[in-house]
């Protein structure tokens, strides 16, 4: 090992160690992750070994490798801050030549949980496939090549995107990536179900194609050699080696360019300022504080990545749960209330969503009346989205289930629930505010998890309790065979919800006005 390589490996180890030092929670989290990953890796290894001789072993191993490689390619985009050695700009002041640097960084990248997991998978894959001495030799090469290609892939992708990753837009994007993962999980779930019904045979064509794509082609090579197809095996192995070389070359070139040209922050400042006018649009919003607050809230739904992510999640889940359940035929029309509940959550921790910029609001609130108008403005902004959306979801669910007679009843229930959520949300915004860190994935600052939990969970229970009269009335109507009168629930539920919201705002306003400094302190952490 050259000195550069040894130093970089030691740097990586120190970064890992220092990352764990200080915070017990983080150490516990790391150890837990390590144990879980090791367990999964071990099980996977055993599973793959057990597959030895199975007709679909090749397909499965190749696909697993390909999926893992995809993960390696995507990971740095989602977790740019996960590995500080990924950021070459930190090494820019050091007198290093590109080649030893790339070699050193590559070796350093092999330290960590991810590479260990990949190693287990690759080893398992080749054990399940290798038959004969030639195949065993190929297997050793294949494992090394696959592992190195995965790591180099991650590095090359990260280096190529470092501009994006370190810019504001990149960080905004990272916040939204949680959604991509959630949607990806749905797709995987769907895929797994399809597989369950049609068997692994359906995957064979995909496996055939993937066994020619590096780094999965390295695993494919072992399979080919085992079957005596030496030419194909060599070709696949060579393909993987070529890919590795190409990746290293690209990585080195981007590194050199990155380290010898001005960094992102300088470029951004030098950018010509846009002269485009922000369209103000016709002023549909009411004048005065109400309209001003609404306008800002609505702008933030679109422009602030954290707020946007929360909204998109709420909107998506609020639609998916009732509609998917209806699609599968197990749905109940009452699931449509889910949309109202999910969207109502956005009223919680209103001031935390402002971050420490809440001081600008605090400076302009000098009476309970000001606080009331402020909270009402925020509730109204929320309603401009949630009211039509909850209605839409309810109508769609009803249409899918064909139960039009229940529509007014469910709408009434939805509106009552929405009103209760707004009321409890306003109150807990004033009583249990907490910070939402702007960087990274966490939605709660350290030490405030309990507060967040009380705020949201307690609020939801309270909202459900507040809705109890309407729910009880609904049940009574059904039990006592007065189903023809259930339309009454629409006006009743709507009125009840509106009354709850107003009462909640009235209760929350004086509390907000007297607790301004405490709220500001609570939302300024992190």
């Amino acid at each position: 090992m050259t000195t550069t390589t040894a130093t970089l490996v030691r740097l990586k180890l120190s970064l890992l160690r220092n990352g764990l030092r200080g915070s017990k929670g983080r150490r516990a989290a790391y150890v837990t992750t390590l144990i879980v990953v090791l367990l999964v890796a071990a099980l996977q290894l055993l599973g793959l070994i057990a597959l030895r001789g199975n007709a679909h072993a090749a397909t499965l191993s190749v696909i697993l490798t390909a999926v893992l490689a995809l993960g390696w390619a995507v990971m740095p985009l989602f977790f740019p801050s996960g590995d500080e050695t990924l950021d070459p700009t930190r090494l820019v002041m050091l007198p290093l030549r590109p080649q030893p640097l790339v070699r050193g960084l590559l070796v350093a990248s092999l330290v960590g949980i991810g590479p260990l997991f990949t190693l287990c998978l690759a080893v398992g894959a080749v054990i399940s496939l290798a038959h004969g001495a030639a195949a065993c030799v190929t297997a050793v090469l294949a494992v090394a090549l696959a592992l190195l290609t995965c790591v180099a892939l991650a590095r090359a992708v990260a280096a190529a995107n470092i501009r994006l990753l370190t810019s504001r837009k990149g960080r905004d994007l990272a916040v939204l990536s949680g959604l991509v993962i959630a949607i990806g999980a749905q797709v995987v779930n769907f895929g797994a179900r399809t597989l369950g019904s049609s068997g692994f045979g359906a995957l064979d064509p995909a496996g055939d194609v993937l066994s020619w794509i590096p780094p999965a082609s390295a695993i494919g090579a072992v399979d080919a050699v085992s079957h005596g197809a030496y030419a194909a095996g060599t070709a696949r192995l060579a393909l993987c080696a070529a890919a590795l070389a190409a990746l290293l070359h690209t990585w080195q070139r981007t590194l050199t360019r990155l380290m010898t040209s001005p960094d992102g922050s300088t470029l951004q400042a030098a950018e010509p300022t846009r002269t485009k006018r922000t369209s103000r649009g016709p002023r549909l919003l009411p004048a005065g504080r109400t309209g001003t607050v609404m306008e800002r809230s609505l702008r933030y739904v679109w422009r602030d990545p954290k707020t946007k992510a929360a909204w998109v999640t709420s909107l998506a889940i609020g639609l998916i749960v009732p509609v998917f359940n209806a699609l599968q035929g197990t749905g109940s029309i009452y699931f449509a209330c889910f949309a109202a509940g999910m969207l109502g959550i956005q009223m919680y921790n209103q001031f935390g969503q402002d971050t420490s910029a809440f001081w600008m609001v605090a400076m302009t609130i000098s009476s309970p009346r000001d606080a009331y108008v402020e909270l009402r403005g925020r509730a109204l902004a929320l309603l401009t989205i949630t009211l039509p959306y909850a209605t839409l979801v309810t109508v769609v669910t009803t249409a899918m289930l064909g139960d039009w007679r229940a529509l007014p009843e469910v709408l009434g229930l939805s509106f009552a629930l929405l009103g209760a959520m707004l009321a409890t949300g306003a109150w807990s915004s004033a009583r249990f505010p907490y910070s939402i860190p702007q960087e990274g994935y966490k939605n709660v600052a350290p030490g405030q998890a309990g507060l967040a939990w009380i705020s949201i969970f307690g609020g939801m229970v309270a909202a459900a309790l507040l809705c109890a009269p309407v729910i009880a009335f609904t049940i009574w109507l059904h039990v006592s065979d007065e189903s023809s009168a259930t339309w009454l629930l629409l006006p009743l539920g709507t009125t009840y919800g509106a009354a709850l919201t107003l009462a909640g705002l009235r209760l929350a306003a004086p509390r907000t006005a007297t607790r301004l400094p405490e709220i500001l302190t609570a939302v300024s952490k992190g």
Partner: protein, 263 residues
Amino acid sequence: MTEVETGAGTPAVRVQDLWKAFGPSVAVAGIDLTLPAGKFIGLVGPNGAGKTTTLSMVTGLLRPDRGTVEVVGRDVWRDPVEVKSRIGVLPEGLRLFERLSGRELLAYTGRLRGLPGDEVDKRAAQLLDVLDLAGAQHKLVVDYSTGMRKKIGLAAALLHNPEVLFLDEPFEGVDPVSAQTIRGVLERYTRSGATVVFSSHVMELVESLCDWVAVIAAGRIRAQGTLADVRGDAPSLQQAFLELVGANGRDMASDLDWLGGAR
């Protein structure tokens, strides 16, 4: 030195026995301060002296453990309606609504302050012009540089024409051009009879700008009065300050003797 020149009527700020502790550490330990109206006032002190804590409590953003604060003769905590409309604040270490453009931020702040919309837009346009932000008015504040952020924060603080302006480290991290712009606006503003209270640890700046100075160290006021009073016999405010906070006479000639030696 703690004697205040009376005559200008009510002082801009009167602080009595102000205390604040964060857990075991006392940030502000019994501050008494009387700042005259119509002056350019500098609050100076080393890092961690309690400047930000004091200014936060004076402006109503942080609740003191004990003590009273009066701004233009009105209690900050008992009479927020009267106080909040009369003061402008530019805090340090707190965000702005960064996902608004500069222009939108001013429009938002002004309307939140209850000013009529047309008036807000007129004043915002002028402030953006004077502060050299007109070219970046449609850019989101999150993409602003430090100097631009301070300038847009200053514009937001001035929008409602306050009687007293509190600025926490308004020149920190600001380039010389922006600093000069900010200075020009502030000087013009105090000439109209308004009061500016700003904190800084750059003595040259305070010396050239202020006519009234309060020195704060370790949570206590070490001196307050006119610039000449506080400076006393010392050749510069910097020297006077170092003596007041007891940081003078630190000699490091014997250490670091290799620095600059044979390579």
